[in-house]
């Protein structure tokens, strides 16, 4: 069944002919002026705080400044160094591993919750939606700080819980367990947000389709997997794209957790942390800019590739 429910673009105004002309009438120009006036404050801030620093940082990345010998122009040498830097590459592999583990985890939780809540109609559904969403409302740093206390062997409940059951208390901040601990924090925080997006998409499906499915003999599971999922695929693609971009730039939670786990989380744990340490701990601003732009380029390439691969599902064809 391939019912199209998404609306197409609105019909073009009939006044225009085939090729759009530059606005000729005074009314058009005046309207354009108002538009520019309203956008100008945002444009000013945007240009000053985003565009200009971007160009400046890119310019900085073309120079090399060593502690001993000062600054000189080196072109793309910094980028060559970045892509052959074992710390950067290790960090990339690590965020890729995070992406492979975290994104399915968040999505499964979000999807399951959204599908279940979509089927419920009682006040329990509203309450559950709120409760699942609340972790997203907590600022990221505060959430990470809270979890760092929960993970702490002294202050957290893990010691009490595990000894009550009779098992040895795991160390959540050891080098082999800190990966899972971070996955836990991010899943807890972001599943609610994705759930809300998926739930909204589910709500926009025409209910008559479910009736038709029931007449055809589909049970709940088949309805969920064969009908609901394909129909919200464009929202899913959007959600996965955001999750991918966010995970590749993973920064806040490891930095906050680093305060109590300096051995397990080193200064170059993720590429973003590496850029931050280079700039602010080691005063290597030029190389830090190169790392940041390299990461940005990779995130762009990754998202583009993902959107290309899912162009059918996302409706972007």
């Amino acid at each position: 069944m391939t019912t199209q429910t998404t609306a197409g673009p609105p019909p073009v105004a009939t006044r225009r002919t085939s090729a759009p002309r530059s606005p000729g009438s005074r009314l058009e120009r005046r309207r354009q002026r108002w538009g520019w006036l309203f956008v100008s404050p945002f444009l000013a801030v945007f240009a000053l705080f985003l565009v200009f620093p971007l160009f400046y940082a890119f310019g900085m990345s073309l120079f090399t400044s060593t502690l001993a010998t000062g600054t000189k122009f080196t072109g793309i040498e910094n980028y060559v160094k970045a892509f052959s830097d074992p710390l950067f590459l290790e960090g990339l592999l690590r965020v890729a591993a995070f992406a492979i583990v975290m994104i399915p985890a968040q999505l499964i939780v979000a999807l399951a919750a959204a599908l279940v809540l979509d089927s419920l109609t009682s006040w329990l559904s509203k309450l559950s939606r709120l409760l699942i969403f609340v972790p997203y409302a907590i600022p990221v740093v505060i959430g990470a700080l809270m979890w760092s206390f929960l993970y702490s062997p002294k202050f957290g409940p893990s010691a009490t819980i595990f000894t009550a059951v009779g098992l040895p208390t795991p160390d959540f901040l050891a080098s082999d367990t800190v990966f899972g601990s971070l996955v836990n924090i991010v899943t807890w925080q972001w599943s609610g947000y994705y759930m809300v997006v998926i739930y909204a998409a589910l709500r926009s499906i025409d209910p008559s389709i479910y009736e038709a499915a029931r007449i055809d003999g589909a049970n709940g599971w088949q309805t969920a997997t064969r009908i609901k999922l394909p129909m919200i695929s464009s929202s899913m693609v959007m959600v996965i794209t955001f999750a991918l971009i966010g995970t590749l730039q993973f920064f806040t939670e490891p930095v906050v957790l680093r305060n109590i786990a300096q051995g397990a989380i080193d200064a170059a744990y993720t590429p973003n942390m590496y850029a931050y340490s280079l700039a602010f701990s080691y005063s290597q601003f030029n190389y830090a800019s190169a790392i940041a732009f390299s990461l940005g380029a990779l995130v762009f390439a990754g998202s583009y590739l993902f959107l290309f691969l899912t162009r059918k599902q996302s409706g972007l064809k």
Binding site: L67, A68, T69, K154, A174, N259, I260, Q262, G263, S277
Partner: protein, 443 residues
Amino acid sequence: MKSKLLAVGGTVAIAAAALTGCSAGETSATECTNKIVNADATQVSVWAWYPAFEEVVDLFNESHDDVQICWTNAGQGNDEYTKFSTALEAGSGAPDVIMLESEVLSSFSIRDGLVDLTEFGANDVAGDYTEGAWKDVSSGDAVYAIPVDGGPMGMLYRQDILDEYGIRAPTTWDEFAAAAQALKDAGAPGVLADFPTNGRAYNQALFAQAGSVPFEYDNANPTEIGIDVNDEGSKKVNAYWNDLVEKGLVATDDAFTADYNTKLVDGSYAIYVAAAWGPGYLGGLSDADSDAVWRAAPVPQWDPANPVQINWGGSTFAVTSQAKDKEAAAVVAKEVFGTEEAWKIGIEKAALFPLWKPILESDYFRDLEYPFFGGQQINKDVFLDAAAGYTGFTFSPFQNYAYDQLTEQLYAMVQGEKDSDAALDDLQASLEKYAGEQGFTLK
């Protein structure tokens, strides 16, 4: 239509003006945390995080007509250094006088961030400071900061815990290891001490006690550096502590976390090998056990016949290259902690250990009784000798990086991934590689 344009234009203008009002300008009189006594005098901006520093600033402002201090607390340690580093890179925003720990002085002097104070009369006050303290702020003939407080090291121990298990406070590292074993054999719930892999300067000081001289650097030849972190002394100390870790006789908790602070005061560590600011740090931790009996003793030695004193931390005041009036800034750096009154505040309220000889060698300081230690005169017993015997230390111009690498290597070691010698060898290799990348020639 025209009035609508005016209305919108006016709103945009107001919004823009409001935004510019939010921008941080230069330090003006209204932005100082302290009060300016003499509004016409030259104002010198100071960044410092000492506790109870406002009283010291007020003291200075009231006694000086021509110079006034405008103080702000720009963060502690690395937080402040990050801001200073960014300000140096940006070319503006740095204060006139800044509080820096001696370990980061060469990191900033190599970036031309600090003024050589010899042309502003630094050598006039050289005699007021101990030899070790003056060496820490000098590089060759240049002097980049005025010493303020130091961190000579001693051993703080829980007398009640050691008495409970019949252990005498150790005086040598061999006795320390034996005491650790005895404590464990007696079934004590805690351990003798902690070996933090993120101890940074603490670990470096322990290595230095065995004769390690990790860095050779002189600002007069800024492109040359000598690195020797895997020498015999360091390897001996590292192997010693790794042995204790492997036997489970010491903990490996990260220092200065909430967990660590709790364990310091609840008896999980019987001994805290500490700097002279350790007592202040201990006293400031809440939930201090009121039954605890703390005492101070000299730091354990490798060779009791030849004691070596070590230092952990300690801060200085430096004049930055962005100071508008360097002469006035130098006066502030030299004189803010240059009076007995200022130091009485520093000692009693901020628990600082003075490096300024007139108060360091005074009877008042020597006979000071510390109620936290049950009235023990810890300066006379421990810290004065430690300070006098300290001969100074040379840090690298990339000390932050060196410490991060040290933490990584020590962590790998205590996790069992490599042995103690390999950890130091790998550290040497990584530091040499980094120095090469930064354009240094290795001596």
